[in-house]
């Protein structure tokens, strides 16, 4: 009896509290930049595709909704030939972002992706690739990696010495 009255009293007090419900979609909630919504693929500071098609995001994905195929350009730079995320399966866990060694795949605070038809939730690389660096500016995997690509020869990555002359026999 007593507890019922107390509960009623609390409910009554709530009438004077600030409201948290907002009039979505006229009004929008603030979602922090690290909120886990729609996934994008970003570009490196030089404007190149950041994804190097390592397949780690696909591997990490608990619902297996990422599929891609690696390929290489004529200079040895690896990138995804296709990159597909089936958002009708995605649970926005962010594991892919965590697994990505290049900061290519990122979750964004955009959650407005409702569709009437499921196939419209299948995003290809064209739909995923944005024109910027996203949340992690400045990183370019190829500047760190030892692989030679167009515009970056052996020995030109960060902290790399020039290629050794293997015929040299000086100690």
């Amino acid at each position: 009896m007593l507890s019922t009255i107390r509960t009623l009293w609390y409910v009554f007090l709530h009438m004077f509290h600030k409201r948290v419900t907002i009039q979505y979609p006229d009004e929008k909630a603030y979602l922090a930049p690290r909120y886990r919504g729609r996934i994008i693929l970003s570009r490196d500071p030089d404007g190149g595709e950041r994804c190097v098609a390592c397949h780690l995001c696909a591997e990490a994905c608990p619902v297996d909704c990422i599929a891609l195929q690696a390929t290489e350009d004529e200079n040895g730079r690896r990138y995804p030939e296709f990159f597909r995320i089936n958002f009708s399966r995605c649970i926005f866990c962010g594991f892919c972002e965590e697994a990505c060694p290049t900061y290519a795949i990122q979750l964004t605070p955009d959650t407005e992706m409702g569709e009437y038809k499921r196939p419209n939730l299948v995003y290809e690389k064209d739909d995923l690739l944005i024109n910027g660096e996203g949340k992690y500016p400045g990183y370019n995997f190829w500047r760190v990696s030892g692989v030679k690509i167009g515009g970056k020869d052996k020995g030109e990555a960060e902290n790399e010495g020039p290629p050794v002359d293997v015929h040299r026999l000086l100690p």
């Binding site: 190097v52 098609a53 390592c54 397949h55 780690l56 696909a58 591997e59 994905c61 619902v63 297996d64 909704c65 990422i66 599929a67 891609l68 195929q69 690696a70 390929t71 290489e72 690896r78 597909r84 995320i85 089936n86 009708s88 399966r89 060694p101 290049t102 499921r118 196939p119 939730l121 299948v122 290809e124 995997f141 760190v144 990696s145 030892g146 692989v147 030679k148 052996k154 020995g155 990555a157 902290n159 790399e160 010495g161 020039p162 290629p163 050794v164 293997v166 015929h167 040299r168 026999l169 100690p171």
Partner: protein, 867 residues
């Protein structure tokens, strides 16, 4: 056996082993790099450090390299000891100092031994922030990619390439922290086993270049246990698929057959499966028809009276299905009469003679070898790698006398120096094993046979021998006989390559004249022996057969007989039906052409030249309308049904049932998954077509499933799709599946050997040919084999094709003196290749290379100068 304490636990270990091997055999995790189960220890990487204690009271102990320390009675070691753990972490940190930040774009990633060992030792944070040394890479040809920055200087590559496989164009250059592993300049790696560096190198320095063109991580591959179809050795392979395409092959360990290594034809020949020239739709008169329509047409034509022409590259099941469809009397073996007779002779020798057939393991352990008439490296490549090890058997006794354990590789090699065991090679020309041979003999086929007969007679005077042998040859025969007699495990290698029954008979005589000798035959194709076991008449007999229709299964007759003869043969039939994988001259003649599954899309059983029945399973999920021939030919719904019928109809092949467990086999009520449990993209790979994931294809033909679900425990050897255990993602995981390191698989080595124990007695053969005599203006055309180019299917793989020869006519330089750079043969011009090792009067032509593919060799032919 010795009792050893590891971390205060008692274990029994084999005292012929080192501690590393013994620990791994007990399924413990101990990191290593330079030790290799087939190559022993050199102690180069310092990764396998453990603590060894003097006795129970010793608290300090000392750090030793497990791979360099023999197992001794009462030894006490610790893997977990803090100092040992720290030591190993320090070693790997040192190895990683110059390592590039490459894993995401490294083809080794996900199956990298270096990754595994780094995780195992717990080194996960880079402290070194200074300059890394870098290297330039080399172009090593179409098979291997080179990325030298990733090297950790374990020396496995050069040890395998130079010491194990006998190559000499890969080496270590420079010194201290800039040691470089490569060639002196860019160029194709010459050794036929270079592809094994993909698995031998523990890092991503050497990776598969063909895989790179359609790269897929190991965890994303759908894999099936399979058998190489590019020669008759029958190496076991893992065939791997992704997105409906065959992506690569890797070695599948079989202790009795290929062990850890494949040849490059086998490893890189797979791309014929993805060829543009694959037949993907049934065609009637060149117009696409439905599969049901095509099958109905096939049935109707068969009912109207048909002959069937089988094939040595089709499975036993496919050949049997054809035989059942047309009737045993109308089934022909699809190989020319001469080859059929030679195969029959070999079966007779293995089945009824006292000498058993040698598996590759037995070949490797032979201590005296006579090769009669075979260029083993180019005909049965993997066997040549085993012969190369056999040469080390006798000299290893030196090491044994010095009490050097045999796994201590460099000490053994130091002790042995250039000492070689007896290997004698009698062949028509130079072979790639000549560098390790004690003596070589070059001769025309008849002269090779005569040498063989002379050896047999020298061993056992009851055996017939040739008269009037030149003194030198007689001396050689006596020398060979003495070497074979002095051996504990002598081996005779021979085969049908030179088209000579006398050579095979001579080889049998030698083996039978020796007590305890093994025989190893080669054969041309993956199922040559199996086809011969079916005892069907040869292709020549089909020329007399009358029927309305000819049904040809997986066979390009234009590679069997001269074109004119095939034209004539096919013209006898109102209808020609062909089932095959690739477009060829025969499929061009087909009224009805039906696509047949390759080894990657279907299943079946092959019999290797050793007489081993081995089953292969589909790696690709079934894709209409490509089906295995045996199913297309009708009558059976599942593989087990046809196998049962086959075993009943042909008692000589009854053992085919035991080649692998039946489809009803389950591991604790579950199927065996073809996909690793980390397989990715399941709900996305087909989402562009439909968002409703299809049910995985059901496999009624095998206990394997086309999914990642199933029992992950170790299945029987014949069903093992890939090797993986927690923490061991690279191929090195195979250690955990063996009864004994480099020994038998715990669940049994795949395959049923039919001739492993010799038969009863057999009288010596006595048809000794007369000595070869050169003719004026005419040459004996003899086939010269090429690992890349002579075999029909691998020829279609671009990487292999790139290394194949252009047609030529090879002559002894003295014979060639009368010609210019070109000659005329069969009305065509050919380049002359001068080969000093070729006997005079013999002309070598590349076997299986058009336009020579259909010639029955050897044969006499005129060679004319260009007018």
């Amino acid at each position: 056996m010795a009792t050893v304490h590891v971390d205060n636990q008692r274990y029994e270990m084999d005292d012929k082993q080192n501690l590393l091997q013994a620990c791994l055999q007990l399924k413990m995790d101990l990191p290593y790099f330079c030790w290799h189960p087939a190559m022993g220890s050199v102690g180069a990487c310092r990764q396998c450090a453990v603590k060894q204690f003097k006795d129970e009271s010793d608290q300090h102990g000392k750090i030793v390299m497990a791979c360099m320390t023999p197992v001794t009675e009462g030894a006490r070691i610790s893997i977990q000891d803090a100092e040992a753990v720290e030591f190993r972490a320090a070693v790997i940190e040192g190895l990683m100092i110059n390592h590039p930040h490459d894993c995401p774009v490294c083809d080794e990633g996900g199956e990298c031994h270096l990754q595994d060992m780094t995780v195992m030792t717990g080194h996960n944070y880079r402290r070194y922030a200074f300059e890394k040394r870098t290297f330039r890479n080399q172009n090593l040809g179409p098979f291997l990619n080179h990325e030298m920055n990733r090297c950790i200087q374990c020396y496995r590559c050069v040890r395998f390439y130079r010491e194990y496989a006998g190559g000499n164009d890969l080496n270590a250059f420079a010194l201290r922290n800039i040691v470089f592993f490569g060639r002196d300049k860019d160029g194709v790696l010459e050794n036929e086993f270079a592809g094994n560096l993909v698995e031998v190198c523990p890092t991503g320095v050497f990776t598969d270049k063909t895989l790179k063109q359609h790269y897929t991580r190991k965890w994303d591959l759908q894999m099936a246990p399979s058998v190489c179809v590019h020669c008759a050795v029958g190496c076991n392979i893992t065939a791997a698929e992704r997105y409906g395409m065959l992506r690569r092959l890797v070695n599948r360990y079989n202790g009795e057959v290929n062990g850890y290594f494949l040849c490059d034809r086998g490893r890189f020949g797979y791309e014929f499966v993805n060829s543009q020239r694959r037949i993907r739709k049934p065609l009637r008169h060149g117009q696409p028809v439905g599969l049901e329509d095509a099958r109905a047409g096939l049935r109707k034509l068969a009912a109207g009276g048909a002959i069937g022409i089988g094939s040595p590259r089709a499975s036993l099941e496919s050949n049997f299905a054809l035989r059942s469809l047309v009737g045993a009397d109308y089934f022909f073996a699809g190989i020319p009469g001469r080859e059929a007779a030679l195969l029959k002779l070999m079966l007779e020798i293995l089945g009824n003679g006292p000498a058993p057939a040698a598996s590759l393991r037995e070949i490797e352990h032979s201590d005296a070898v006579l090769v009669l008439g075979e260029d083993v490296t180019n005909v049965a490549p993997r066997m040549a790698l085993s012969l190369r090890q056999a040469v080390r058997q006798q000299p290893m006794e030196i090491a044994e006398r010095l009490r050097i354990p045999l796994w201590m590789d460099h000490a053994v090699r130091e002790a042995v120096q250039d000492e070689k065991g007896p290997l004698f090679i009698a062949a028509a020309s130079a072979t790639r094993l000549d560098d390790v041979a004690a003596a070589t003999f070059r001769g025309a086929p008849d002269d090779i046979a005569r040498l063989g007969f002379a050896v047999a007679q020298a061993l056992d005077p009851a055996a017939p021998g040739p008269e009037d042998l030149p003194g030198q040859t007689r001396e050689l025969a006596a020398r060979i006989a003495a070497a074979l007699k002095g051996a504990k495990r002598p081996l005779i290698v021979s085969g049908p390559s030179l088209g000579s029954a006398a050579i095979i008979q001579a080889a049998a005589n030698v083996a039978w004249a020796l007590a305890g000798a093994h025989l190893a035959f080669t054969a041309a194709e993956a199922n040559s022996m199996g086809l011969a076991m079916m005892e069907a008449p040869a292709l020549d007999a089909a020329q007399a057969a009358t029927a309305e229709t000819a049904i040809i299964v997986e066979n390009d007759l234009y590679r069997r007989l001269p074109a004119a003869e095939v034209d004539q043969l096919l013209a006898r039939f109102g209808h020609v039906v062909v089932l095959d994988h690739l477009e060829n001259a025969t499929t061009a003649k087909a009224e009805l052409l039906i696509p047949a599954a390759t080894f990657a899309e279907g299943e079946g059983t092959l019999m290797s030249s050793e007489g081993r029945l081995q089953r292969f399973f589909a790696a690709l999920s079934p894709t209409e309308p490509v089906e295995p021939s045996w199913r297309l030919l009708g009558g059976w719904n599942t593989l087990d049904e046809i196998i049962r019928a086959l075993a009943e109809a042909m008692p000589q092949l009854a053992a085919v049932r035991e080649a692998a467990p039946a489809a009803s086999f389950r591991m604790e009520a579950a199927k065996i998954p073809r996909q690793p449990h980390r397989y990715s993209g399941r709900t996305s790979m087909l989402a562009n077509i439909s968002v409703h994931e299809p049910k995985p294809p059901q496999d009624a033909d095998s206990p394997l499933s086309f999914s990642m679900e199933g029992n992950p425990k170790q299945p029987p050897g014949a069903l093992q799709p890939f090797f993986w255990t927690p923490g061991w993602n690279s191929y090195q995981a195979v250690n955990k599946f063996q009864e004994e390191i480099a020994g038998r698989l715990e669940a049994g080595d795949p395959g049923v050997p039919m001739f492993a124990s010799g038969g009863g007695g057999h009288a010596f053969f006595n048809a000794i040919p007369a000595a070869f005599e050169a003719r004026a203006g005419e040459w004996l055309l003899a086939p010269l084999f090429h690992i890349y180019g002579s075999e029909e299917l691998s020829r279609e793989a671009p990487a292999v094709a790139e290394l194949g020869p252009q047609p030529y006519v090879a002559l002894n330089p003295e014979d060639a003196a009368q010609f210019g750079d070109e000659v005329e043969l069969m009305g065509q011009r050919f380049r002359v290749s001068r080969i000093a090792e070729l006997p005079r009067g013999v002309a070598g032509i590349p076997a299986g290379v058009p336009p020579f593919a259909g010639l029955e060799l050897p044969a006499w032919s005129k060679i004319q100068p260009i007018q």
